[in-house]
Amino acid sequence: MKLGYYPGCSLLGSSREYGESFCAIAPRLGLELQEVPDWNCCGASAAHNLNRELSLALPARVLGLAERAGFAEVVAPCSACYSRLAVANHELQDETLRRRISEIAEVEYRGTVRIVNVLEVLARFASDSLARKVVEPFKHRVACYYGCYLVRPPKITKFDRPEDPQSMDELMKVIGAEPIDWAFKTECCGAGFSVSRTDLVAKLSGKILNDAVRRGAEAIIVACPMCQVNLDLRRDAITGYLGREHTIPVLYISQAIGLALGVDEQSLGLHRHIVPVALSQNTTAEPVPVEPVSSGREDA
């Protein structure tokens, strides 16, 4: 199965291991990834706050190039890229707007490409090739953390249940993991403040981390570079906020699947994590007693 591939900046920079691990597992599942030729920035974080036309023209150029290259579907592993491309694609279904934006982007787009996220792509292989190719079952209790972008806004993403998504949990079950039932699957990690208000990131991500640990998770599984960076890279600030240290690692779904498929750790980029990925061998640990964070009416 051939699929257009849009790595975006994250997968080449701060989240290289996401790109590496996804590219490592793809051929094993029978998935051929072809990079969208001459792709550009999706415009996330800045463009849509400043200039609507720019925020559409940037993804429109990518969509147009993908269309020209003959891709019916393009996978964007980064959630922010996925969101920008999917939202723009949705808005560009309006023909007048599409013509105008195509002119600005200097690439014609006819609106035929579909943007998919990693979970959507992997789910297609879940019951068949993935299940068959697991060599080392990932026998760990995991907290599947989806973040905000993958399932929202539901009108545009049309993917999974927006309040309590299941697709990642299902994939984890296929590779032998035990997903925990928890309430923070789609809570905000604070990515919007990851530069300007790191104290808020520590608070929001800290609550997520704490709940996962409290409910006995051994690893948090994510499908978004911002979530991973906030939960992994900001661990010191989180420790400061919580007043206690958690050593739970934060893995990309492609890394967890890679481990189950027997891919070596180096190819999956596990050495790039800040919090070491040290998982006990095939055991299911008992939940550790941990104090909750929230208390009463939150006025502070």
Binding site: F184, S294, G296, E298
Partner: protein, 663 residues
């Protein structure tokens, strides 16, 4: 030679805003056969009708075209006016300049031109109209009331008290509906059962009411005044005549763990059961899905203990056919259950309950006998959060309407909780408080001011469990959208009111319209609120839209009044828009060749076979004949007839072709 009058209505600005009505009238006047044409601001008003009547008399009109709105509302109005002026009402037709033209086009010359075209088409039709005479049909003075909730009971009692027979059908084993489940009612806090149960008994004992519980409508055929209802009386597995309601069977039944529907799954019931002690009739039913005898083939304990020998394991469903003249649909509502809300735990938290479950908790006849005990561990909840608009007014949830009753019952719930747990804390998250109604606003103020319920304006984004508490995350939008978290012991969701399960199926069965939410459609939202577009079928209560008890009862009485009005007549007249098979002189008799394709095509079984015989009884030919009482005028037979022997009165082939050729 035709003498047609054309009357162009402005409909205020509805038509005149985009169509040049004076120009339409002028152009119509030049059409061949038109002898008079004029325009007027409101043709349906008294002076407007006066213009038509005057023209009929003065110009000796042979046909009238009213160019105005859709015929749905005002065709009867104008036909009546024509009849009053001595013209056969079926010589009057309407050209729809509003829905078909002015409302859907911009102002301009082409719009006016289209209006003129529409008038020309109808003028050509009217030239070929024949005088028709209404069909007289008798009225069966028995009403069928579907649903034995408060609306159905009220309608049945009103009709019965007016001296007419009523058949009351309820699908559950007892009448009473949701109202029987309620604890107290707003805004008076009088006990729901205390006011309802006497009505239930009255309905059951009324000499004019025949009650069929545990029964459902199987089919409804016929038309106003002459319906034929088939009712499926589901097998109770108990002989109702022998059973004396002693209740020993329900005490002895070993299958005791079935969630009780009446207690909203907060309590359990047995496989042979009476829904609640005050049920009417107080006769048990065997739930065959759960009964050990029906699932595993042995047990029969109830049979052994029944003194009256009333258990009938071999009882079959019974189909009862009843002729009725009118139908009142009062099939009620349901509420969304907590599993509809992923953000509130998908129904997995036992202490997140819905409004009906809270009613059962607060009710003296409920599983806790009215004591405030939360479902998970039976502890008294110290902090309770009530969430209004759970699902309602939420396009993302697919329910855009306001459920109407939640603001009031949430205030009532919070109040009842505070009355039972004085030191407890009650929070209500709300969007707006909609308390329109007599003494309603005062009731909500009382909850806030006298009972100290904390009203927080904001939505709850998530509920999750932590250390035995339910963490309710929300925002207080009156305090700068500040996020708040409340650790609650119990959460009550005022979940959206939705159509009763099977409402869509029922609507199709009785051929009544319904909206996208499966609420049954009234004929006109303001002027015909209890009738439906199917003559002889009324709606009452929450099957039409979410409504509270006073409104349901008012609508039920209104529906009953409509039924009584219908039953006040001995004969009804029906529009003669029916199919007719032609007849001609011997030796042809009819061009019908007797293929009877029409018989197969007719959805109403209106085609009969008529034998044409000589005087000495020799059969000449068998031809089709339309039963005018049954025919609904759909025209399917006309389209199918190979020898063009059938025509639809009022819409003959000649008329329709004339319309097309005039375009």
């Amino acid at each position: 030679m035709s003498r047609i009058g054309v009357f162009v209505c402005h409909c205020g600005e509805n038509i005149a805003g985009t169509v040049d009505c004076a120009e339409v009238a002028r152009a119509s006047g030049e059409l061949p056969g038109v002898v008079v044409s004029m325009d007027y601001k409101y043709m349906c008003s008294d002076p407007g009708q006066g213009l038509i009547k005057q023209a009929i008399k003065e110009k000796r009109l042979t046909g009238v075209v009213v160019a105005a709105c859709s015929p749905r509302m005002h065709e009867p109005t104008f036909r009546r006016a024509c009849a009053e002026a001595g013209l056969n009402p079926f010589l009057c037709e309407m050209a729809n300049l509003r829905e078909h033209c002015s409302w859907v086009h911009e102002k301009g010359e082409t719009t006016t031109q289209k209006a003129i075209d529409l008038v020309r088409v109808i003028v050509e039709k009217v030239k070929r109209n024949q005088p028709l005479y209404p069909i007289k049909v008798p009225v069966t003075k028995t009403a069928l009331v579907l649903g034995g909730g408060v609306a159905g009971i009220q309608a049945a009692l009103d009709i019965a008290n007016a001296g007419h027979k009523v058949v009351l059908v309820e699908r559950e084993p007892s009448i009473g509906g949701h109202m029987a489940q309620l604890s107290e009612t707003f805004p008076t806090l009088d006990c729901s059962q205390c006011i309802l149960t006497p009505r239930m008994v009255e309905a059951a004992q009324h000499p004019n009411i025949t009650l069929y519980t545990y029964s459902e409508l199987e089919s409804l055929e016929g038309f106003i005044g002459n319906f034929k209802a088939r009712i499926r009386k589901k097998a109770r597995s108990v002989d109702e005549k022998l059973c004396n309601g002693c209740g020993v069977c329900t005490q002895k039944c070993p299958t005791r763990k079935i969630p009780s529907e009446f207690n909203a799954a907060l309590g359990m019931r047995t496989a042979i059961y009476v829904p609640f002690p005050q049920a009417v009739p107080n006769k048990p039913v065997i739930d065959r899905e759960h009964c050990t005898f029906f699932t595993k083939g042995k047990c029969r304990i109830c049979e052994k203990f029944c003194q009256a020998k009333a258990i009938r394991f071999d009882q079959q469903d019974e189909i009862i056919e009843i002729p009725v003249g009118a139908v009142v649909a009062a099939t009620g509502y349901d509420i969304k259950h907590t599993d509809f809300f992923p953000e509130y735990g998908y129904g997995k938290y036992k202490d997140v309950i819905d409004g009906l479950q809270f009613e059962r908790l607060a009710s003296a006849s409920g599983p806790t006998l009215g004591a405030m005990k939360r479902p998970s561990d039976g502890k008294e909840p110290e902090t309770v959060v009530f969430i209004a608009c759970a699902g309602s007014r939420d396009p993302a949830k697919g329910i855009e309407y306001c459920s109407k009753i939640c603001c009031m019952y949430t205030a009532k719930h919070a109040m009842l909780y505070k009355h039972k747990v004085h030191h407890g804390k009650a929070y209500v998250f709300y969007m707006d408080i909609r308390a329109g109604g007599k003494m309603y606003e005062e009731f909500v103020r009382r909850a806030i001011e006298e009972d100290g319920v904390n009203y927080v304006r904001g939505r709850v984004s998530r509920i999750y469990e932590e250390d035995g508490k339910l963490v309710v995350k929300g925002a207080d939008t009156l305090l700068g959208a500040r996020p708040i978290e409340i650790k609650a012991d119990m959460v009550v969701l005022a979940t959206a009111v939705v159509a009763s399960p099977g409402a869509e199926h029922l609507a199709q069965k009785i051929k009544v319209g319904y909206d996208r939410y499966c609420f049954l459609s009234e004929s006109h939202p303001k002027l015909r609120p209890v009738e439906t577009n199917t003559a002889g079928i009324m709606v009452a209560g929450a099957c039409q839209a979410p409504k509270d008890i006073p409104e349901s009862v008012a609508q039920a009485s209104a529906a009953a009044a409509k039924v009584c009005g219908l039953f006040a007549q001995d004969e009804l007249s029906r529009e003669p828009v029916v199919a007719v098979v032609n007849r001609c002189a011997p030796p042809v008799y009819s061009t019908c060749v007797g293929c009877f394709l029409c018989e197969q095509a007719c959805p109403y079984q209106a085609i009969e076979r008529e034998e044409i015989k000589t005087r000495d009884g020799r059969l000449i030919k068998t031809v089709a004949k339309v039963n005018a009482g049954v025919c609904q005028g759909c025209g399917t037979c006309v389209a199918l007839c190979r020898s063009k022997s059938i025509d639809l009165q009022g819409f003959t082939n000649e008329q329709v072709y004339a319309e097309l050729l005039a375009l």
